[in-house]
């Protein structure tokens, strides 16, 4: 049978397999011998190159898997290389530094190009595979991932759609009847367990900028994977503010849907999505993939991801906040100056809002107030006629800065020195945005106040750079919004909207937002409202304790944690913070005991492993400390504390080579203290974003002249 399969493969088309010691003529090993994908990380099993023809075209898979093929053709993965939005950026790298540097990006965007040796000057490789980006055979040939290093850290096996009777992969295409006769062998070749793990996604949804790319030092680019791991959905982090059921990347982005075309991979007439809906509307808009665009918009607007809460108002005449809106009575009148507190919760995203390349993607809050006649008298955070966003908008973006303290535009990430500004909402957290307006004299009620979170892919300046300024208007999607009607005169409690969070959670989110803005008294007050409404909620007391700890009120923090543990003595989150109090008090044995309890429940808790490693080190239990830091590196291969401590520990244990390696990793990954000066230079020149920093909690969006308003009164 094996002979039959091999013969069939030869008859159809064999992708020639290059040996590790062979390579395309004139390949530029710019970054070192055998480093074919550096500065990226993609590699073949056993090393070396592979002929591009070894990867069957997607059409080959598609003649049976019609549904998967149709979805994939419109998805981001199939268009990972060819889109103008990607090419513009990578072409700048190619033109300024050389094609060999593009292996950094293309280890994910075009792995066939990298692994076939096509990305070298004067390449002799036929690039007809470019338009297919990540094909069926690129993902379904991955045998494993290289820890969680990212940058395309996949290990690719021989592309094959069948294994023989001994489980050996059969390269090339085979007749359909062979697959029908042995579906289990087809499945064994293409459906490896790694495909279903979040670590598989991490291979590309985690990225860094290595010194080989930027001639500077290692910088984190993005890591949706780590954000997921720290979120409630991973069940790996005891410190998330909320809990939920375990969900992987695939759980959200590859949900099962009903078939519209034939597909033998379907189960119960459903197939896991090969559209991977997420946030990218630009690519389907450019290609005219209407179904993909529709599914993307539906995904963004599913209502699962964000909660917008018009939480409170504060009148200029009164220091107290009226909160929560909808639950308490209050009075309003014309000429009142009103500050509105809008709480935006990243409720159901397993990563940050917005993830990954925050220098190109753009989400922002739009806030409007209309009078009873529908006339808008206040608007903040809007798109201007030229398509750019109001510079003062509250946006969930970042500002990357280069060595000249100037904005890094066009995604020239190899020129990044530092991040001057990064305004995101991490998974499970909330942010507080303040808007102040004056109700016009003579205004008629009721007023309609609306806050929305809008999203677009991509920011206008980048679209202009890619397409010139005469391009069509790209979609803006409203992800979430909330409106409230405010009467001029008396307002009575109105009851919740079905989309609203329960009242305790509204207070909890406010507390989290205050905590992140370093407003500790306000945060404790908000969390106290939580435990009043829900006295059996252990996390409410832990949230109070957490705030008190960062406020350096350790005794009251201990008391609050005691209340949490009285409700649940095994509460891992409370135990972790108790451990930190023990650490501060010098009770190392208690510290170790508490952390071991946490790790027993959450073996992949980075924080607990890190603290326990340090504790063992202080107790001179070096092997135990090494065990914790090695476990920590298995969770996050870039953990600085682990690198630093292992460099010392290995040395003490006489393992000098390993110590040297860890010391080198620490040195290259450690933040450059001088880079902060460039951030400050940039922020001094760009007050429109520096005022948005979380360390400026009194910042209020307003069109009122300076000197008028609540902040000044306070």
């Amino acid at each position: 049978m094996r002979l039959v399969l091999i013969t069939a493969a030869l008859v159809f088309r064999v992708g020639l397999w290059a040996q590790a010691d062979s390579h395309p003529d004139n390949y530029d090993f710019h970054f070192g011998k055998d480093l074919i994908s550096a500065p990226g990380n993609a590699m073949m099993e056993g090393g070396g190159f592979v002929e591009p023809g070894a990867f069957s075209k997607a059409e080959y898979c598609g003649h049976c898997h019609k549904e998967a093929y149709a979805q994939w053709r419109q998805a981001l993965h199939s268009n990972s290389f060819r889109t103008p939005f990607y090419r513009t950026s990578v072409n700048i790298l190619l033109r300024t530094k050389g094609i060999e540097f593009t292996r950094h990006c293309d280890s994910c965007h075009n792995p066939i190009g990298v692994l076939s040796g096509a990305l070298t000057a004067d390449s002799k490789v036929d690039r007809s595979f470019d338009p297919d980006g990540l094909t069926c055979m690129t993902c379904h040939s991955v045998s494993r991932v290289q820890a969680t290093v990212g940058n395309g850290g996949i290990v690719m096996d021989i592309p094959a759609v069948m294994v023989d009777e001994n489980g050996k992969r059969v390269p090339g295409e085979v007749p359909d009847e062979e697959i029908r006769k042995h579906p289990e062998r087809h499945s064994k070749a293409v459906m490896r367990d790694v495909l279903k793990t979040p670590e598989f996604c991490a291979a590309c949804h985690k990225a860094n900028l290595p010194p080989t790319l930027n001639d500077y030092k290692w910088l984190r680019a993005f890591t949706a994977y780590d954000e997921w791991q720290n979120s409630k959905f991973s069940k790996r982090n005891p410190l998330s503010f909320y809990t939920d059921s375990f969900t992987t990347c695939q759980g959200c982005h590859m949900r099962r849907g009903e078939l519209t075309l034939e597909d033998p991979g379907a189960k119960n007439n459903t197939l896991v999505s090969h559209r991977w809906p997420a946030g990218n509307t630009a690519v389907p808009f450019y290609y005219g993939f209407d179904e993909q665009l529709k599914k993307t918009v539906e995904f963004l607007q599913s209502g699962k991801y964000l909660n917008v809460d018009l939480f409170a108002i504060r009148k200029a005449s009164d220091d107290r906040i009226v909160a929560p809106l909808g639950s308490v009575p209050f009075q309003l009148a014309a000429n009142d100056t009103v500050e509105t507190l809008v709480v935006i919760q990243n409720k159901g995203i397993g990563h940050s809002l917005i993830p990954e390349v925050r220098d190109l993607f753009e989400a922002w809050v739009e806030f409007t107030v209309k009078d009873g006649g529908g006339t808008e008298f206040y608007r903040s955070d809007f798109v201007k006629p030229n398509g750019t966003l109001d510079e003062k908008a509250h946006s969930f973006t970042n500002r990357l800065v280069n060595v000249d303290s100037s904005l890094v535009d066009n995604h020239k990430v190899w020129t990044v020195l530092t991040t001057a500004y990064d305004n995101t909402i991490q998974a499970g957290r909330s942010t507080l945005v303040r808007y102040r307006f004056r109700i016009p004299a003579g205004a008629t009620g009721p007023l309609t106040v609306t806050a929305k979170v809008n999203y677009r892919h991509l920011r206008q300046s980048y679209l202009n750079n890619v397409l010139g300024e005469d391009h069509p208007v790209y979609p803006v999607v409203e992800i979430a919004s909330r409106s409230r009607t405010l009467n001029l005169g008396g307002n009575v409690p109105s009851g919740p909207d079905p989309k609203d969070n329960p009242e305790w959670m509204r207070w909890n989110n406010l507390g989290i937002a205050y905590l992140d803005q370093l407003q500790y008294a306000d945060a404790v007050a908000a969390f106290n409202e939580v435990v009043k409404l829900r006295p059996t909620y252990a996390d409410g007391y832990t949230n109070i304790a957490l705030t008190e700890m960062v406020w350096e009120k350790y005794d009251s923090a201990r008391a609050s944690l005691g209340r949490a543990l009285a409700l649940n003595r095994d509460d891992a989150r409370a135990l972790y913070y108790v451990a930190l109090l023990e650490k501060r008090a010098g009770n190392t044995n208690a510290l170790v005991a508490d952390l071991r309890k946490v790790i027993a429940q959450y073996p992949q808790s980075r924080d607990a492993r890190r603290e326990l490693g340090v504790a063992y080190y202080q107790k001179h239990q070096y092997p135990e400390a090494v065990e914790q830091f090695e476990a920590l590196l298995a969770i996050d291969s870039d953990d600085l504390t682990a690198h630093y401590n292992l460099s010392l520990l290995y040395s003490r244990l006489g393992m000098e080579e390993k110590a040297r390696q860890q010391a080198e990793l620490y040195a290259v990954k450690k933040a450059d203290p001088g880079a902060a000066a460039n951030s400050l230079d940039f922020l001094r020149e760009h007050t429109e974003v520096s005022t948005e920093l979380e360390s400026v909690p009194w910042h209020v969006h307003t069109d009122m002249p300076e000197g008028i308003g609540i902040a000044d009164k306070r």
């Binding site: 090419r87 490789v125 036929d126 007809s128 005469d470």
Partner: protein, 150 residues
């Protein structure tokens, strides 16, 4: 002495010719062009304007030919419209090839005129085989060219 000068002249001439012959097409390599034409190809690159970023690449196979012209426009909208209007034999506007593109032609020859920002590109595929799907080939080549122009 005379012999030495002649030899040096010959060497310079040989290297100059070789250098000129080896200039590769900036927007499509010979292997990809050969794949599109399903033939082994020879490559020629010429510059017809003073702008060295503009060029004409010609790939010649035994029974087929591919010509790629790229030039920079001063007035992109009008120049593109004017050039696209010349693509008049069964023209079809294409989406997602550069900023805009149109393909035309019939059996034996297909032409695609497109634009990326202020760069005009014209792809012409000709073949002796009347059954060759030349519009598809022109489109595939144009996508690569546009991708490299972005």
């Amino acid at each position: 002495m005379r012999t030495s000068v002649s030899l040096a002249f010959l060497l310079v001439a040989m290297f100059s010719e070789r250098a000129a012959a080896e200039e590769s097409c900036p927007w499509l390599n010979a292997a990809t062009a050969g794949g599109a034409l399903t033939a082994a190809v020879t490559t020629a690159v010429t510059h017809e304007t003073a702008n060295r970023d503009d060029a004409v690449c010609t790939f010649t196979g035994e029974r087929s030919r591919l010509r790629i012209e790229v030039r920079t426009m001063d007035t992109p909208r009008t120049e593109f419209a004017s050039r696209a209007a010349q693509c008049s034999e069964n023209p079809e506007a294409l989406r997602a090839i550069g900023n805009e593109a149109v393909v035309c032609g019939s059996k034996g020859s297909a032409q695609l005129v497109g634009r990326v920002r202020n760069r005009l590109f014209v792809v012409v595929v000709t073949a002796d085989d009347p059954s060759a799907r030349l519009r598809e080939k022109a489109r595939a080549v144009a996508e690569s060219v546009a991708g490299n122009l972005f």
